[in-house]
Amino acid sequence: MLDEINHIALIGGLMQQMCVYLVIAYLLSKTPIFSPLVQVNVRLPGKLVCYTVFSAFCIMGTYLGYQIEGAIANTRAIGAVLGGILGGPWVGIAVGLTGGLHRYSLGGFTASSCAVSTTVEGLIGGCLHLYLLRRHRADRLLHPMSVLITTLIAESAQMLIILAMARPYDQAARLVAHIAAPMVLTNSFGAALFMRLILDRRETLERYSIAFSAKALRIAERSVGVLMQGFNEENCMRMAKIIQEETGVGAVAITDCEKLLGFVGVGADHHLPGSPIASPHTFWAIANNEVVYADGAAVPYNCSVSKDCKLGSCLVIPLRGEGNRVFGTIKLYEPKRKLFSTLNRTLGEGIARLLSNQLLAGTIEEQKRLLAQSEIKLLQAQINPHFLFNALNTLAAVIRRDAEAARQIVLHLSIFFRKSLKRASSDATLKDELEHVDAYLQIELARFAGKLNVDIAVPDELMPTRLPPFTLQPIVENAIKYGISQLIEPGRIRISAEQIDNVLAIHIEDSAGLYQPTPDGDGMGMNLVDRRIKIRYGTNFGVSVHCVPEHSTRVTISLPMVMEPVPC
């Protein structure tokens, strides 16, 4: 009866069977079960999934097979070989054994030979796995061609095993003569196609993550520092614009806990920055510190501002600051005709984290700035009493003998205090600083009459250079207080400035040479100046001291050259 087997019909049948098989595989590839299969599995959980899935395919291959004379023409080999290739020899053997035992249970004269051969097929797949892994060519494992060849070998082996084991031999020989070619071909192609399916799935995943990281990176790059300058309407508008451009969503909004700070995109005509939050979703997100997704179907979304709003779905993500406290939200919208892409939903949460971190960093910057400012205040407060009373005492003496000189002292004193009391937030120019210092020195000159000599040599072209206010005066004051005023003989202070490449170097040199490094003690003024410059311009700049004991102390302030913009 075997003679009646139509070879073409058998190949067609097996091909059909394979199609059903592959459709099932395709559907399965859309489920999460499949994700461990898209890579070579080295760990146990992946291997288990591998075993289960491919065993199922193995058994399915048998069921879908054709009964031929007590034997079954089938596509069982695909499961066993792929199990071995993706899971390794043990998984291969296990899958083969499971499929084989199942086949054995169905009976027939090839039952035992098929059970053995299926196990061997799994082992052959496993051997390829082991061989390529050892040679660090795991990438070849997923190649459809290598799968095709392996299955070809495995099926040929099966045929030989049937010939060797199945009895009666002549019946086995006839069976093999008929089914060998169709089975070898269909199984090989089937396995190769199955692998192609796996590869497709893998490529899709990769494309998705590439697109995702590219977008995320671009947003991160473009938004660097935007919110660090402050969480206000201007910066939020800029940020929202960047996010909308990069994600391509219908609209983007950023809010604090009370009002809208920035809105870009569809509906910008009625979602106005500065207006209070109206959306219940936003309130919910803020109150519960959780992401709210109103897809417009399961969770209805209606614009709370205008009935004509074209926006149809909305994702609200809370922005979290210190201690996970919510300080605002970021909202992504899509118009009614468009669906929210999963990509943008995931990205949205990442963006929220990015913004939160930026704002946190901004707060730290702000605190640093405040600290620097309060230090200036301290510096100013520190200046006054000693200097003031000594100056007044000098004045009292000078009034007796020289009214005009006394008047000059009063004027210098008023210049000095006016400049000292000026708000410390803005920048000063070198000229401002020198005027401040000059007023100070004029008073000291009167006080130490004859004991102090002052020499200021700063080129005119450096005068517009910008520097933080109160940079020069504390250093000059130190030079007097710890330098010249400690000299028994007369002393000299020399102030000079030069430009070295892009660095402004201001030197304050006294002829005392009595500098003693005191980390936080008396040199406080100098340390503060140094810290402020370093906070502002980085550690390449700051204050350095060169002291030749008993001869001279030279303090150098180095700053980046920034010129006062010429008013136009």
Binding site: R447, Q486, I488
Partner: protein
């Protein structure tokens, strides 16, 4: 009549005080000094009844200077300061007064009344903060400088004055041996010598029972019989 000395490094400050004192007919300003070292010499030379002493002065403050005045010559001290009257806390119970710059005439008059009423200075015990010296002011012909006590090898006296020697320099000081012995770690080894035990390398015993101390830099200092035992025991102890 009270004789007064003004010690202040600021010329205008001295002028002002002099002008204020001019109104009091029974106060005579016998001298002015611009630093503590000159001041010490002037006190020892002029023996004024009262010293108006600025606190903020180069190298040796007014407070430190008080600890350097020979107790037998100690005048009454009126501190003058612009702001750091808190530094005077230690002196509160030590029969002194202070004036704040700029000085008010009325306030000065009160001080003068106090000085007149109690013209005989009391023996003043100094606060601990100034009764240990850390440096010795010295002069040479043309220079004034300070030698840190740790650097001093020995101090000796001869007809020309009291000499302080360190490893690399020496100078004449206004401070007496007695005062240095009391207020420093220097040890008497001879009627005319004080020595810093830290600087002694060896002691050579002589036939007559006296000895010579040799410093690390090889200078030889006489050690009299009377002080030898004392020095030896201190060296063994230290």
């Amino acid at each position: 009549m009270l004789s007064a000395l003004i010690i202040d490094d600021e010329t205008p400050s001295r002028e002002e005080l002099k002008a204020l004192l001019a109104s009091a007919s029974d106060i005579e300003v016998v001298g002015e000094c611009a630093n503590a070292i000159e001041g010490l010499a002037a006190i020892h030379r002029l023996r004024p009844d009262v010293v108006f002493l600025d606190i903020q002065m180069p190298r040796i403050s007014g407070l430190e200077m008080v600890g350097m005045i020979d107790p037998s010559a100690l005048p009454r001290i009126v501190f003058v300061t612009a702001f750091d009257e808190h530094a005077l806390k230690a002196f509160e119970e030590h029969a002194t007064d202070y004036l704040l710059k700029p000085i008010e005439q009325e306030r000065l008059n009160k001080t003068l009344d106090w000085l007149r009423s109690d013209a005989q200075p009391k023996a003043m015990t100094l606060p601990a903060s100034v009764s240990r010296l850390t440096q010795i002011p010295c002069t040479t012909r043309n220079k004034i400088f300070l030698i840190p006590l740790d650097d001093v090898e020995f101090v000796h006296t001869d007809q020309s004055g009291i000499h302080v020697s360190s490893h690399d320099r020496s100078g004449v000081t206004e401070l007496t041996l007695k005062l240095l012995q009391e207020r420093t770690a220097l040890v008497r080894c001879h009627r005319q010598y004080l020595v810093n035990l830290e600087k002694i390398r060896e002691i050579e015993l002589l036939d007559n029972g006296s000895a010579e101390a040799v410093t690390h830099t090889g200078k030889r200092i006489p050690v009299s019989r009377r002080h030898l035992r004392d020095i030896k025991s201190q060296l063994l102890l230290s």
